[in-house]
């Protein structure tokens, strides 16, 4: 089964149902957008788009934190862990993704380590948690293309 997703970046696309995640609380600042499709980017599966199903304009670039930060360690505060559990996520098999933002003016990549996304591939639910990370983002210089 596929779901038709209307996007401003890629036109109307068909996404397999098993790539649609439900965020019961949405993302911070995007509380109303709860359904997201995971779409591989032109760089393959290591960088993906999380495209909101209910707003064609809203899509986040995401990657595993270790793609850019090999020593990344996830520290979820107790409150977020128990909230994730309340929302039906299984804390054991969770996948972590970090939101990326490319600053093309300064040729740098910001990796948002303070508020990663946890995805549960079993229940297809997700949550954005706030960690105790010292800095909100880690900035990595980009090679000029």
């Amino acid at each position: 089964m596929t779901v038709e997703v209307v996007t401003s970046r890629f036109g109307t696309i068909e996404v397999p149902e098993e790539r649609i995640f439900f965020f019961p609380r949405g993302l911070i600042g995007f509380e109303r957008l709860k359904r997201y499709a995971r779409i591989d980017s032109t760089k393959g599966a290591s960088i993906q788009w999380l495209q909101a199903l209910d707003d064609p304009e809203t899509a986040f670039l995401v990657s595993a934190p270790t793609t850019y930060l090999p020593s990344f360690e996830l520290k979820i505060p107790k409150s977020d862990a128990s909230r994730a559990l309340n929302e039906g996520l299984d804390l054991k098999g969770l996948e972590t993704l970090t939101i990326l933002h490319v600053d093309r003016v300064n040729q740098s990549l910001h990796v948002h380590v303070q508020a990663p996304l946890l995805l549960d591939p079993t229940t297809m639910k997700g949550v954005q948690v706030v960690t105790d990370a010292e800095n909100a983002t880690v900035t990595i210089p980009l090679k000029s293309s």
Binding site: I28, G29, I47, E57, F60, R83, Q107, Q114, A115
Partner: protein, 69 residues
């Protein structure tokens, strides 16, 4: 917004599971205590705002942004 006046040591309840207490008022600063269920995230505004702003900025990523990664 509901506005209430409280003195040091006084508090208020939100529903039956969240209690906010004013612990101390001194030199323009207020110390606040919050008793809430564990799953309630409690954040300072500035932290929450920072995350929200980052999310909003990131949500506008362009397809071309990926070329430089």
């Amino acid at each position: 917004m509901l506005v209430l006046t409280r003195k040091s040591g006084e508090g208020l309840w939100i529903g039956d599971d969240i209690r906010i207490q004013v612990l101390e008022v001194r030199d323009g600063q207020v110390r606040i205590g919050v008793d809430a269920p564990e799953e309630k995230g409690i954040y300072r505004d500035e932290l929450y705002d920072r995350i929200r702003k980052f999310n909003i900025q990131a949500s506008r990523s362009k397809s071309e942004d990926i070329d430089s990664l």
